[in-house]
Point group: C2
Chain length 179, copies 2
């Protein structure tokens, strides 16, 4: 069965295994096996925080290597862009030749989010507080992310309190892989 690595900030949810199972069920419905970052059983006994972090990092890299596809949740996370761990994993998978698909539960594009986000500091400017420019390429996020995609990024508008749990866009994304 084709294996899909489920990248995203979902691991930071109060109950990450719940969304993991929901995503795996949706994958299965379309004939795929969903692989979640926490799937490997790791032994943290006697390890320092740093050693645990490094073990998880290595485990995630190893999991990506066993997959043929990444489906990434690129919903903006703690700022105008996607989670940086997810950005790393998209790059990692892309270089290995995996097909990359993504969805976002925020409808505004990158430049709109940047303007909105940083208008809190400097209204009506297209540079931030450090006089650094915003990308303006009609894209969903940083051009390296949009450029890595094997298909159209699925955008869904969801209620604010479902931003990180609503899976309508995720399912659409999985459906699209099938053609």
């Amino acid at each position: 069965m084709i294996r899909i690595y489920l990248a995203g900030p979902d691991v930071f949810l109060p109950d990450p295994l719940k969304v993991a199972q929901e995503k795996k069920d949706i994958c299965l419905k379309y004939g795929f096996e969903g692989i979640f970052p926490l799937d490997n059983q790791l032994n943290f006994k006697g390890l320092s925080k740093q050693q645990i972090g490094l073990l998880i990092s290595k485990s995630n890299e190893d999991l990506i290597k066993t997959c043929q596809i990444i489906v990434a949740n690129i919903t903006p996370f703690r700022g105008p862009s996607l989670d940086v761990g997810t950005a790393f994993e998209i790059g990692y998978g892309r270089a290995l030749g995996l097909s990359i698909y993504a969805y976002s539960n925020v409808a505004e594009n990158f430049i709109t989010r940047n303007r909105k986000y940083f208008n809190l500091i400097f209204p009506k400017t297209d540079r931030d507080v450090n006089n650094m420019s915003f990308e303006n390429f009609d894209m969903i996020d940083n051009l390296m992310i949009d450029g890595a995609m094997s298909g159209k990024i699925i955008i869904t508008s969801v209620p604010e309190n479902e931003k990180y749990t609503n899976l309508v866009g995720f399912e659409e994304c999985i459906k699209n892989i099938c053609g």
Copy 2:
């Protein structure tokens, strides 16, 4: 000559070619060739914004493939974490087997920055406004970033207005590659 891809949000500076040249000069001083994301001459004539973005993305991926090392500026950018384009490139280079080094011009570690950043919303909590957890692995940034490193991340405290231009940590980073 060993080629180093110079990843970072430096491309968003008011004069990116200035810092590009400074970094290339430092690389040369230690026997390396520095490669900056804007080095390829691209022809944007007649292209839409999106097409331009995709061309830059492809060009950056191609440049990384010609390098043996990435030195990434992982100074927090528009949020508590590094620039997402840089995170992508670290992942991309890592999967290709490049050696990855990084520096940051902000001294606080990841959990401290997250707490500080999100204390603006909810004081004294280790979860954000969406009840999502912070990583706490004594690391500089997301564990996928720290986990990708071939050497110690160089941390330098610099004045706020030099956060994206000070190259003391960058030079230290290049020096460390030599052993």
